[in-house]
């Protein structure tokens, strides 16, 4: 970690991938080799990305920690900073400060079945875990992924979805909101919580990870409960607004916790004890 | 003519108001008070010390609820309410105004016309202190005026109390918080503070009722009411006394200026 906690690493944009309308993935490489060698992170952690002159914003690290040579992030153009990032071209430099926060306890999940439920732009934090786990596939049980977006075009990581769908050791269910499908669409049509209910994965010896917009999470929790998932077996990430990432600026404070320090990964059991300010 | 307590009681009973926004005794001076039941009526006060412009609450929908609301209205509250009504921010019949300057002598006003005639019948005495300061600043050299405002505004901490206290600053998203593009730098610095005050004054041009709530709210006593005051007097000079509404959203082909080449 740097001496000045607000000083970012300077990263070079190695590759830009258009994922969906307004959604891009940047593959970043450290400008400084020494910094790259010293850097490590764990699945679920986030970082502060900056377009110099526009400011910083928070997203998770979307690549797997098992792939050391680069870092990836996926973002949707929404505000000032993401618009500034979107204007950057391959070869340009940007800031990266991290990794921050806690992570998914993947080691505790060894031997268990894993269910991933994601909506829209919330697949990136999950993708980091999924690749991490696929890279060590034989240590885990069944893997089920339920992923939905507004329309077919809005699904991110299309290439990887195809790859996962073709694997025999992954059960992938993709869905789009009613009206978002094209005639050639082969996946499901419906909102994520109802498709999750229809998919009905077993809760025996299972862990569920849910990421998505607040409303999707709100309706997915009861479904998981009905399927028999215990509260401490359901994980999610909170998306509170952050600025510093290091527990100082006060934005992500909920109760005595700071999402940037004690999160972003929480179990449903932990959320039950938290004031509902997320 | 009746006293405040009786009037409030009858409003709760006969008009079925759910809430009366008024004043209560505070820790250092009277403060706004939300009276929600007849039990609280004895707390209501009204006298010369009641300075807050409580018209600021008229546009806060989450505070008002759905029912009829009464408001104890000093002259400044009524003036702001008229302007809010002109800008279609409040509707006739939405509020009952308990107008007066003292608890012993209040009258109930329900429609715009009666508020207007009340305001017309109670001309405001110009605040001599404000006038004096205005003249003092106007008589300075340009360099001194710059030094004066730079010194005053460099103290500003950007708490936006001026905005929060102003009944006419009701925008749901203020220009100070727009960041694409970022017109006004959000941090405190002499220039960005000045930019903020220029924006506030310009957006108040022709709308400001001169209540001085911005100045009274400022924790550092910055004389920011002088900016809007100056504009108000210039506007009535340039575009005519009777002009009301947002001066900048209208025009007159006969407008006179003397600086265009």
């Amino acid at each position: 970690m740097k001496n000045n906690i607000y000083l970012p690493y300077v990263m070079t944009i190695d590759r830009i991938i258009e994922e969906a309308p307004g959604v891009r993935t940047f593959r970043l490489k450290f400008k400084d080799k020494e910094e790259e060698n010293a850097f490590s992170f764990r699945a679920g952690q986030f970082a502060e990305y900056s377009a110099f002159g526009e400011g910083e914003c928070t997203f998770c690290i979307a690549s797997s920690p098992t792939r050391k040579e680069y870092i990836e992030c996926t973002f949707r153009k929404a505000g000032r900073v993401t618009s500034g990032l979107e204007r950057l071209e391959e070869g340009a430099t940007m800031g990266f400060r991290g990794p921050f926060g806690n992570f998914f306890p993947i080691e505790e999940w060894k031997g268990k079945n894993l269910l991933f439920v994601a909506g829209g732009i919330a697949l990136p934090p999950m993708r980091c875990v999924i690749w991490n786990i696929l890279d060590r596939r034989d240590e885990f049980g069944d893997i089920t992924i339920v992923y939905g977006a507004k329309s077919e075009n809005d699904l991110v990581y299309k290439q990887e979805l195809k790859e996962w769908g073709e694997r025999s050791d992954v059960r992938l269910v993709t869905t789009v909101d009613p009206g978002g499908e094209t005639p050639s669409w082969k996946g499901e049509v419906g909102f994520v919580p109802s498709i999750l209910e229809k998919t009905a994965p077993s809760s025996a010896n299972s862990i569920a990870v849910v990421c998505g917009p607040p409303v999707m999470i709100k309706f997915s929790f009861p479904v998981l409960e009905k399927l028999g998932f215990a509260d401490d077996c359901i994980y999610t990430t909170l998306e509170n607004r952050m600025k510093c990432g290091v527990g100082k600026c006060g934005r992500c404070n909920i109760g005595k916790y700071y999402v940037c320090k004690d999160g972003p990964v929480f179990t449903k059991k932990q959320l039950n004890d938290l004031p509902s300010e997320y | 003519m009746s006293n405040l307590e009786e009037t409030a009681r009858s409003l709760f009973k006969e008009e079925k108001v759910n809430l009366i926004i008024g004043f209560e005794e505070g820790s250092r001076h009277p403060r706004p008070f939300f009276c929600t039941s007849t039990d609280d009526i004895p707390k209501l006060i009204l006298d010369k010390r009641c300075h807050n412009n409580t018209a600021v609450y008229l546009t806060k929908k989450d505070l008002l609820g759905t029912g009829l609301v009464g408001i104890v209205a000093t002259l400044r509250v009524l003036k702001s309410a008229l302007q809010l009504s002109l800008e279609n921010q409040i509707n006739e019949g939405q509020f009952i105004f308990i107008a007066g300057e003292d608890a012993s002598d209040v009258q109930v006003l329900k429609d715009k016309a009666s508020i207007q005639s009340y305001v017309d019948a109670h001309p405001e005495i110009p605040d001599s202190k404000v006038e004096e300061r205005l003249h003092h600043i106007e008589s300075m050299s340009r360099e001194d005026r710059w030094a004066f405002w730079k010194n005053e505004l460099s103290k500003c901490i950007r708490c936006y109390a001026c905005r929060a206290a102003c009944p006419l600053c009701y925008c749901e998203r203020c220009v100070a918080e727009v960041n694409c593009p970022q017109w006004i730098d959000p941090w405190a610095a002499p220039l960005s503070n000045m930019e903020w005050q220029v924006n506030r004054a310009m957006h108040m041009a022709g709308r400001c009722t001169g209540c001085g709530a911005c100045y009274e709210a400022c924790p550092l006593d910055l004389p920011i009411n002088l900016l809007t005051k100056e504009l108000s007097s210039e506007i009535s000079e340039d575009f005519g006394k009777g002009i009301s509404g947002n001066v900048l959203s209208s025009f007159n082909p006969a407008d006179k200026e003397n600086f265009f080449k």
Binding site: N4, Y6, G250, K261, E277 | R28, R31, Y160, R163, L220
Partner: protein
């Protein structure tokens, strides 16, 4: 703790030496009706009469706007540079109040409870606090209700108490304080025995205890008291910005052409935009929730998490509030409210 006696008439002589040997001496200076900590060049500029300054002393270590680092772009490349440690001035804060001094402890905790904020720490290390015991108070003061007092030495480097018209007592708490004494060793006479300073202190009666408030806040999250108390709150940031312990901030970029700075500036949990997501979703959409956050953060979350109360009882927020949200009064009603109903 070492104790010295200095003749009251010699205090200015001491201050003169301090001004001479220090880069920056900040002292209360009267400006119109208000009093601010400002750099002084002569002892006469100091205002000794005011109860507190309008703004808190936090700006000595946590300025309203400060540079975190600079950046320079050339083509596609960017280089970063830090602010040098020397540019933070060696500072003496003169005639602070005990509540000013104790206010640095929560700031220390916030900026160091987990990650260490070096920019803050550099400024803090260069700050020496000379506080003066309070001989007067006003209706907004409530330090004795939150564990402080008009003669409290916590957090200060030196506490000066004007015992009577002739003598002043200097209680030196730290090494930093000792250094200031050593500037004028002849002016000070060490005393062994306990000097009773209580008669020189203002009388501020305690209205509640922080333990009482903390206890009541445990189950108060869903209490109806928040809506009731915050109805008149107009949502400005005055209370947070004058508060000695409020440390919430925003990070922004200030760009001019190819150069720029990343800066931090004060922010407040009372602003509606503070927690609002870009998507428009806001976890704290109502003013009552933001008022609750303010009180819970200071009196429940901070003691729970970083073991320090987020309030010094200085009363600045109450003085600054345009609608008289008197915090002591609100805390008193919290301590006497049945939150179950």
């Amino acid at each position: 703790m070492k104790r010295y006696i200095i003749e009251k008439s010699k205090v200015n002589e001491w201050l003169k030496q301090i001004i001479k040997s220090t880069e920056r001496v900040l002292a209360p200076v009267k400006d119109g009706e208000k009093v601010y900590f400002r750099p002084i060049t002569s002892p006469q500029e100091t205002d000794y009469d005011s109860v507190t300054t309008t703004e808190s002393a936090k700006e000595t270590v946590f300025p309203r706007t400060e540079t975190l680092f600079r950046f320079k772009t050339e083509g596609k490349d960017t280089t970063l540079s830090e602010v040098s440690a020397e540019s933070y001035p060696q500072t003496v804060l003169w005639r602070a109040r005990p509540c000013d001094a104790v206010g640095f402890l929560p700031l220390d905790a916030i900026f160091n409870w987990d990650y260490k904020d070096n920019i803050y720490n550099l400024r803090r290390a260069k700050l020496t606090i000379v506080s003066f015991s309070c001989n007067t108070s006003d209706s907004c003061c409530f330090c004795t209700s939150v564990g402080g007092g008009p003669g409290n030495t916590e957090g200060t480097d030196i506490l000066v108490t004007l015992l009577n018209d002739e003598r002043a007592l200097a209680e030196v708490v730290t090494e930093k304080g000792e250094k200031l004494i050593s500037l004028c060793p002849t002016l000070f006479k060490a005393v062994e025995s306990d000097e009773d300073k209580s008669s020189a202190l203002a009388k501020i009666s305690s209205r509640f205890t922080s333990e009482q408030v903390q206890e009541h806040l445990k189950n108060a999250f869903d209490s109806s008291i928040w809506k009731q108390q915050s109805a008149r709150c107009i949502g400005c940031g005055a209370c947070a910005f004058v508060c000695p312990t409020c440390a919430c901030f925003d990070i922004q970029d200030d760009k001019c052409g190819r150069d720029g700075k990343r800066i931090r500036c004060w922010d407040s949990c009372g602003f509606s935009l503070f927690t609002k997501h870009t998507s428009g979703y806001n976890p704290r959409p109502e003013q009552s929730m933001r008022w609750r956050q303010r009180l819970l953060h200071k009196f429940s979350y901070m003691p729970d998490r970083i073991k320090v109360l987020g309030c010094t009882g200085c009363g600045r927020c109450s003085r600054a509030c345009p609608v008289d949200m008197n915090i002591a009064e609100h805390l008193y009603s919290i301590a006497n409210y049945n939150h179950e109903k």
